[in-house]
Symmetry: C2
Subunit: 206 residues, 2 copies
């Protein structure tokens, strides 16, 4: 049971923070008391950053990634390879792949995966716009980079059937043992797959 | 190394969240993406709650606790016992004690403890206003409820010397073994103190 704090302003701020995932009431109070000690303009910068983000955010009309502009800075970057599209579930995946600095192509954010259990069908995802993009563009290769779950596999298969009629290469990101992992602790399915999908040993694998 | 996110609005919101204690960049991103999925009015309620708190908060002119009004709802509550004042370091301590529902007196928030190392002297704390309160009021008892640190002890001693000339009872909260704790795992100092400060066994201790 919780008592009201001595101030309804404080109570309100704590309740708002507690709504965030993984933030309990104790943490919320700690964060709010931290903000109270900050200068007025710092707290206003924080609050306004969130309000402005939610108000002004747009999604790139090409790849559906978060953007400040109609076409995002990845899609509009002419130094990137527009012949390769990497298909991902969410914005977070774009950030993860960008952080690897290993991919210089473009993205396509589906907005989820096909999941009949959750009522998500192909029409709820950015699949039609992907097909249009691949058909109308200079695309040579589509990389499917979805989760290795049943829903991810279902979506991969659905996309494969749609894309295979177009003359492009369809690939999927390599699944296997994480770098630094010991075989002993790798799950059987991953280990099995990594043997089936073994690659030729070259200097780059040293 | 971090790359800029695809949106400066997003980057800005993530950076603001990362400034909070205990919130790293990954958590910040997770929280911001969560807010992005919320309705506009919900995010505005969150941002405005923080801004409003920082702008409008006042401190009770009697006890210096956080308040919405000149005199806080504890000090102005006539059903509370105004003959007992519990002296604490911070607002958090008021909340902790209120949550126990065991105290019906009033508080006095010092705003810290005497700490020469951190440049905090008696004049930086709400000590003078405590003395004035005790001298001018109907106070019978002052409970010292400060941390059991060297600084807390120094402050206790300082307050004791100031208060002992006034005809009131001065007490301090009981230190001892936590309820549910095993002796085996209690630190020596706490165990030693709890033996020195032993209390008569009564039915209430069963």
């Amino acid at each position: 049971m919780h008592h009201n704090l001595s101030s309804s302003l404080l109570e309100n701020a704590v309740q708002e923070f507690s709504k965030l995932p993984g933030i309990g009431r104790k943490t919320a109070l700690r964060l709010v008391l931290h903000l109270l000690k900050k200068e007025k303009h710092e707290v206003e910068a924080f609050g306004n950053a969130l309000i402005q983000l939610r108000r002004e955010i747009v999604y790139c009309k090409v790849c559906h990634n978060i953007s400040d502009t109609e076409v995002c800075h990845i899609c509009s970057n002419t130094s990137r390879d527009n012949s390769i599209i990497c298909v991902v579930e969410s914005i977070k995946d774009v950030l993860s792949i960008e952080n690897t600095q290993q991919f210089r192509g473009l993205y396509h954010v589906l907005g989820g995966v096909i999941s009949p259990m959750d009522g998500v069908g192909p029409a709820d995802l950015q699949i039609e716009s992907l097909i249009n993009r691949v058909q109308s563009g200079d695309v040579n290769e589509v990389i499917l980079a979805l989760s290795t779950t049943m829903e991810g596999d279902t979506t991969n298969f659905f996309l494969f059937r749609k894309l295979t009629v177009i003359d492009i290469k369809i690939t999927t990101i390599a699944r296997g043992i994480s770098i630094g992992d010991e075989l002993e602790y790798t799950d059987e399915v991953t280990l099995g797959r990594s043997i089936l999908n073994r690659v030729e040993f070259t200097n780059s694998y040293k």
